[in-house]
Symmetry: C2
Subunit: 259 residues, 2 copies
Amino acid sequence: MESESNTKTMRCKTCYEEYDPCEAGTCNMCYEMASEAKEQLLQEFKELERAYEQLDDKVAFLRLWSPVDQAHRGSPDPVFPDVVLVAPDDGLPPVPVPAHKAVLVNRSPVFKAMLEHEMEESRSGTIKISGVSYDVLRAFVNYLYTAEAWLDKQMACDLLVFAEKYQVNHLKGFCEKFLVSKLNWDNSLWTYAFAHQHGAKLLLDAAFTFITHNIHNLTKTKEYKELVEKDARLVVEIYEAFLSKRLNTTVFKYTSKEP
Amino acid sequence: MESESNTKTMRCKTCYEEYDPCEAGTCNMCYEMASEAKEQLLQEFKELERAYEQLDDKVAFLRLWSPVDQAHRGSPDPVFPDVVLVAPDDGLPPVPVPAHKAVLVNRSPVFKAMLEHEMEESRSGTIKISGVSYDVLRAFVNYLYTAEAWLDKQMACDLLVFAEKYQVNHLKGFCEKFLVSKLNWDNSLWTYAFAHQHGAKLLLDAAFTFITHNIHNLTKTKEYKELVEKDARLVVEIYEAFLSKRLNTTVFKYTSKEP
């Protein structure tokens, strides 16, 4: 036994230093249990790290070279595309984005329906995409192959809209997470309206939290006045959600206090 | 301060129970540090869990439907294959395995060279595969799309050989890990020879460890005698590696003891 009960000082089982009884921490049983628990947690952490590395290797294996990048590296036709996507740019002749039907069909139920049912796009091998720029289309196709995209706020919004239209949920979630990371009080109302319009639940909830944290200043902002003009029902929805949440919290607090 | 220095019993800061001084664990400073460290480790663990989940979603997104499974689900031509692989089976008419050039080129440098350089296979759209059964070819193609395979020992060996030939390192590693998990003293010598033949470093090292743990019984086994007959140089290599490792360990021990 390392603790010395007959002297004034005692010896710590962790640092082996002597200490005064008034500086005591845990009893021996808790010390032993904590040591075991720490060891187990460390073990689990290491196992998770190994599993993470293996999963990371799997991502690298499953990732495909994007035919977009391939074309930009100067290779003429190295990945055997069997379809092109075209986004008509204002005034400029459109630049086709090469792709593979198999990849489009795998990633998007909309492309699946379009290509598997002998529609015009399947026969011609050309899919016309409206309402997006060439850059956004390129980033979109790139993501379908690599699950990666370089984002700024504009690109994240454009890709989110595109991903919603073609039901590429993974890309939609990717853009949502990016926009959540860029949320602040100034853009929260605009973001709420945007998320609402495109059914982006994660982003909507995060924007709502920002708004409600500072709700007493809401009416003072220019964005608020503009939104009331443009879409008063949405503003009503925010107030309703705020009050409903508050009521629930109050009821919960009240209920919690009961014996 | 919860410890009571003027009484015989003390109070633990973890379980709040009283204990006798001779049952003391840590000093307060170590208790505080351990609590902080545990909190931090838990935090890191949760972050890693979140990152793991996100990576798992990415794997699910990047995984492609295997054209093999697709064909077996009764869909006639739903994934637009542009190449077939054929493994001539003894006597039976070969069953072609549909695939996509883009996927083969992405996953295997051998297929890349074959298909990108206007060789016979690229022109005809048929790749003849020798030395494997239809089942192995099917599992191989399936893995290129999904990074998954159902393995038993025979399938793991066959796929490892196939993966080595076509330089699909991820599949090779997958098979190696499976075979490592099936290692025991009885199959360690056979596995060592197999791993040596196919340059499977991970498996070779694991088999070597098994052999050296029981090296004094090595000469008594039937497998040993067979291997001496078949490939005596390999047996010499095992002895050399064993002695070299032992020498290194001894030198290290000796060096470590020096002042």
